[in-house]
Symmetry: C2
Subunit: 438 residues, 2 copies
């Protein structure tokens, strides 16, 4: 390994120096996790950096927000995952800048040199610079944000009890979700179930007939990546549960109470959940020419960032334009996992100066759940829903969780919630204050 | 019910007005919870106020701090506990002042009148004004504080990896617990188990032979409320696990690194856990003459605060001096529960102008656990420990948890931890920053 050059005066992160090349992976999402695991027996030193000391199973965050699952059962400590992997080193820090010429990273705990750098930072919420959104709406891309949303929902119901003005109370009891993708659909469904089975028992003094759940989508359909049948079914399911679905509706401003819509329709809510867009989490130091408008990094067929020799990007933050996916692959876990898996092989090939293998996405299908016994599943040309779809959804998500313990905990919670119609962890552990998501 | 008097200009909390007298209970700990439940069929309106929307099972907080249990499984939503109790109203707020003459409370959400007021606020950490403690040491009296401690322990180990100075690293890896009561003993034992079974796998780069766990007690014994045999056994158990027990040692100052001891012995640690004292959580407006130096409220034999007709104090915050307990009852859950139970009857008697019944504490015994297969139990003159004591401890604590779901979750965690020797939730969900406990 080359010594860190031109780096005088800067603290280096204390990591054992070895002869093997160092692969630094930024981010322990689905892609980074898979890559680091697959490099276990490769002739490299693996350094994984993440600002959280755990892996997050993002697809279930919405259940944390809606008091259905403990945060602790959908995340898993990184050090535990890599227990016994001798070439592995984790460091808890945030990367501030990439210095690609001298091949090192600047982080909040010092500098870290690399031979191969893999950016697996995923995405963050995209508010599209819409006025008021970043400050006043609730995103849900991390455990902390999901817990903040859980708190806010409960806080606003507690507040609703106190106010006597009917409009003010309605605003506190209205739940508006923006974004008709799987997250928005799942969140709307889960809130409908809270309204139906849980909240009336908790707040007998409130009139829940007045509580509205509105799902807003700027396009003309929900679940745009699914087939026509499933899109229609999703709307039907949500209607049945009590969600109002407003298609072709754009949010142009939010002041914490009034939602300004393109349609001009008046809408007031104290609970605006923003699930309408993501953008790549870019790190300073990468050539802007290879960054797409959605802040993804243009990569070649082995996930190498264009114009760089030793920098790669996998998962949601990468953008590999292929014939089949001219605008890049969908930003879903299976792409990240498959790219991580393949990149481990390709890095070894590069070290051994052997031929690399281009990425070819194997699409196993997609799914979304709306609620109890209601899910939509698409595998190739086959699509199904209802109870069977729902069980498939449960099974696939359960098996994708990291760790046997998390699976047992989650399964127990699901069975409990299913049988009791309850959501037991409606707790305001840390009250949400405006600005806490920043 | 009397209307709120002399309260013009102040918002009243929106609570339905009924004909029955209103019993306001401040705090949903063991005492407040029991009282509110027992009043379910009494001819009163029950208003429960707590700054948290959940009941906390405090005896297991130390397991949250040491990554053994999820916070969510030792707390329980208040509204769920009282589901279906028609005379019950919960309000999420903090009480600022009692106005005993006009019989109302000032809270952060408005005023609340009462006919009977029950103070069940419990205790908070007592730092005895020792320099630096409140700012720099870690208390553990609430879920948030326990989670902060969990974060700090893990953060300091992450930091230990980064430093090259051996003294600095030692300070990050030293764990000092002050207070030889059950909390201190249990915490020390749990950290020893982390050191033995979990941390060396997580941090193979650290030398855990250098990690010290020190339990400091100002008196000449641990578990002062227990018998001689058990006190000695506790020290032995802790020694076996690897805790250094320093008796007759006073902490006089802490600057975040250096612990100044009465003995003059030098000691450095970045992890100082303070479990050495509590004081009652007093609310402004109570006559200072009835407040003891430990901030408990002097009460008569029916828990009525001395000098007041309609104000009561139960549990840890009350101080009933009797022949058998000249300095008040021990500050433990059974006292609070029994006082809550009896007070429900006595309030009904007072309303009906019938004779009240004085409180008589039925002491079922006491227990403390040190670690795997190691606990101490005392029931009357019988005392035992070892595996049987440990199982007894587990069983009693499990059955005392509120809610079947929490019991199942906790039991599963315990079995899992026992079989795997692991602690799975070593997560830094919200990194601790100095001052977060304030």
């Amino acid at each position: 390994m080359q010594p860190l050059r031109s780096n005088a005066g800067h603290m280096k992160i204390n990591i054992p120096e070895v002869k093997q090349p160092r692969v630094v992976i930024i981010g322990c999402g689905f892609g980074g996790l898979e890559l680091a695991k697959r490099l276990a027996h490769a002739p490299v030193q693996v350094v994984l950096i993440d600002k959280n000391n755990y892996h997050t199973f993002q697809p279930l965050l919405y259940q944390v927000s809606t008091s259905g699952l403990e945060a602790d059962s959908i995340v898993y400590p990184i050090r535990k995952i890599f227990k016994g992997q001798n070439n592995f080193h984790y460091r808890w820090c945030e990367v501030q800048k990439i210095n690609s010429e001298q091949k090192y990273l600047e982080t909040n705990i010092g500098n870290c040199n690399y031979d191969y750098l893999v950016i697996a930072t995923g995405t963050t919420t995209n508010f599209f610079n819409i006025e008021g959104l970043e400050e006043k709406s609730m995103p849900m891309k991390s455990v902390v944000e999901a817990l903040n949303l859980r708190s806010l929902i409960l806080q606003n119901l507690e507040k609703a009890l106190l106010v006597t003005d009917i409009n003010e109370r309605d605003a506190l009891m209205n739940f508006v979700i923006v974004g008709g993708g799987p997250t928005g659909v799942e969140l709307a469904g889960a809130i409908c179930e809270l309204k139906k089975h849980v909240l009336p028992n908790d707040y007998p003094e409130l009139d829940f007939r007045r509580m509205r759940i509105i799902l807003i989508e700027s396009g003309d359909t929900l679940l745009a990546s699914m087939c026509e049948t499933n899109r229609k079914k999703a709307v039907q399911y949500l209607h049945d549960l009590g969600t109002e679905v407003w298609l072709n509706t754009k949010v142009t401003k939010y002041d914490g109470l009034n939602v300004t819509l393109g349609s001009g329709k008046p809408l007031q809510t104290s609970n605006l959940m923003w699930a309408a867009g993501v953008k790549g989490q870019i790190i300073e130091g990468i050539n802007p020419d290879v960054i797409t408008p959605a802040k993804r990094l243009l990569v070649d067929e082995i996930n190498r960032v264009k114009g760089y020799e030793n920098i790669f990007a996998i998962g949601d933050v990468g953008c590999m334009m292929t014939e089949k996916y001219p605008r890049g692959h969908p930003q879903v876990a299976p792409v990240a996992i498959q790219q991580g898996h393949l990149l481990a092989q390709n890095i070894v090939s590069l070290i051994n100066k052997q031929a690399t293998k281009p990425f070819d996405y194997f699409d196993k299908g997609s799914m979304a759940t709306v609620g109890r016994n209601k899910a939509l599943v698409e595998v190739g040309k086959i699509n199904f829903g209802g109870f069977f779809g729902w069980v498939t959804w449960l099974f696939v998500h359960l098996m994708s969780l990291v760790g046997f313990r998390n699976r047992v905990m989650t399964l127990f919670n699901w069975i409990w919630n299913y049988v009791s119609y309850d959501r037991n962890i409606r707790l305001i552990i840390r009250p949400y204050k405006a600005g806490d998501n920043k």
